[in-house]
Symmetry: C2
Subunit: 280 residues, 2 copies
């Protein structure tokens, strides 16, 4: 009797993979400065992706740890503010000690900061659905010092609900609805979640219901990647990997959905698709 | 063998019964004008309570039908705007044809109109949880012409959710939450429901769970009274009456909760309590 070792594989790649617009933008800024021969400094991960950062280190970008920011002295060259933004105090300090500061904050993140500032001035308690330890949220706190974070709500009569740009849209809505339920005078719900991350969220939710395995590609510190993983894993077997090396040894068969975080280069995703299609 | 016809009755009177502040206010205005010897005109029910209106008719108040407003010609005397308010066009017309117009609009209703106007100017689609045929809501439409009513929502990116001042708070919150769920850019939920009616709502909900019978006292056209009736009747046997005459013949026993609409005089409620305590 003959046994055939047949492994059926069908790969389905998400439509929204690779860098989002905001990540592409900050990388273009940094690369442009490098092309101009500038010495570029960055505090913290420019974006949450190891391979992207390693590549920039090779090109000469000086990466400093976030917690070294306030100890930094005179810096020769340009400081680029990363996609997650930076508090006004940090910006000001870096402007003082460097030749120049170039803003790489994702415009969608900047809009969140501006919205928070403006609404706070209108007399609202700002309640944010986000992770207060995430760099974007730490920067936000620099703009809106009185902001409170989920699940905190406070007892203000007028509250405005905002979200980290990469937050889970469904959970944000639940939080907002729970605030309405407290019966205060006004609850102003402003959806500050990036539409790109919402589309990726919808896509992975659909894949998780239709596939046998979902592969989420992206950095382990990436908030939007974590969200994709969390959504998928409740429905189906899900792997969270940064590159194709990490799937070696895993059983890869059936319908496979592949999505990526917004700071993952499309080339990394393509290498994973190739690896699977070649038979793993 | 003896049979005792024992009817155990325990009456529990709501804390928030009788006229609310807004109703008391408009009645004080009308009575003050009558004391000054003025001829008082009112268009539509001053408040939704037959006995109150009959009493004022006896004192000489001229009640005109709402749909006669635009046909009215020169009026000798003062027109009092009722608690539900009136559209700016109606006010203006009545000012023109009468000696004077005195505003009896409940201040909580006025605040709703002003809030609607201001928020519309800020560029929001106004969505109202209310009955578009109710006088308060018809007046509101005079101030905010583009307002839409539940369950309508429209597809505007920025919506503000307001409520008729006598709306059911729980249902308002459900409607507001459903709007958040549509994922638009901003949902501004402003609780314009009168706190007095919310307290009566909470009180009747508790009574409905603890009593054998709930008696709701108030006019059949009264929106806040209807709300109390609707809440109670889903849990327990509930009677909606305007005066003690209407409970004759009804079985009244066990724990009885009594609440009233905001346009019901406390004397009417007292007569009902007396009637029951005397043994019906």
């Amino acid at each position: 009797m003959w046994w055939w070792n047949v492994k059926l594989v069908e790969v389905r790649l998400g439509k929204h993979v690779g860098f989002c617009w905001g990540v592409q933008r900050v990388l273009d800024i940094v690369n442009g400065l490098l092309d101009d021969g500038e010495q570029v400094h960055v505090f913290g991960d420019l974006v949450h992706n190891t391979s992207v950062i390693e590549e920039l280190k090779v090109k000469g970008v000086a990466f400093h740890k976030e917690d070294e920011l306030w100890n930094a002295e005179k810096l020769e060259g340009v400081v680029v503010v990363r996609a997650h933004g930076m508090s006004p105090e940090e910006r000001h300090y870096l402007e003082e000690i460097s030749d120049r500061l170039v803003d790489g904050t994702c415009p969608i993140v900047s809009r969140l900061f501006k919205t928070g500032e403006a609404i706070e001035k209108e007399g609202y308690q700002i309640c944010v659905y986000g992770n207060p330890r995430h760099p974007e949220m730490r920067a936000f706190k620099g703009y809106v010092k009185s902001a409170v974070f989920y699940p905190e709500v406070g007892d203000a009569k007028k509250v405005a609900v905002l979200a980290q740009t990469t937050a889970d849209f469904s959970k944000f809505k639940e939080y907002a609805a729970s605030l309405i339920n407290t019966g205060r005078a006004e609850v102003r719900v402003i959806n500050t979640i990036c539409a790109e991350t919402i589309m990726r969220e919808m896509e992975v939710r659909k894949m998780a219901q239709e596939c046998d395995l979902v592969i989420v590609v992206g950095g382990k510190m990436s908030s939007n990647t974590r969200k994709l993983f969390e959504i998928a894993k409740d429905h189906v077997r899900t792997l969270w990997i940064e590159n194709e090396e990490e799937i070696k040894g895993e059983t890869i068969q059936g319908k496979i959905g592949i999505v990526s975080g917004t700071s993952t280069p499309i080339e990394v995703v393509r290498r994973i698709v190739d690896y699977i299609e070649r038979g793993g």
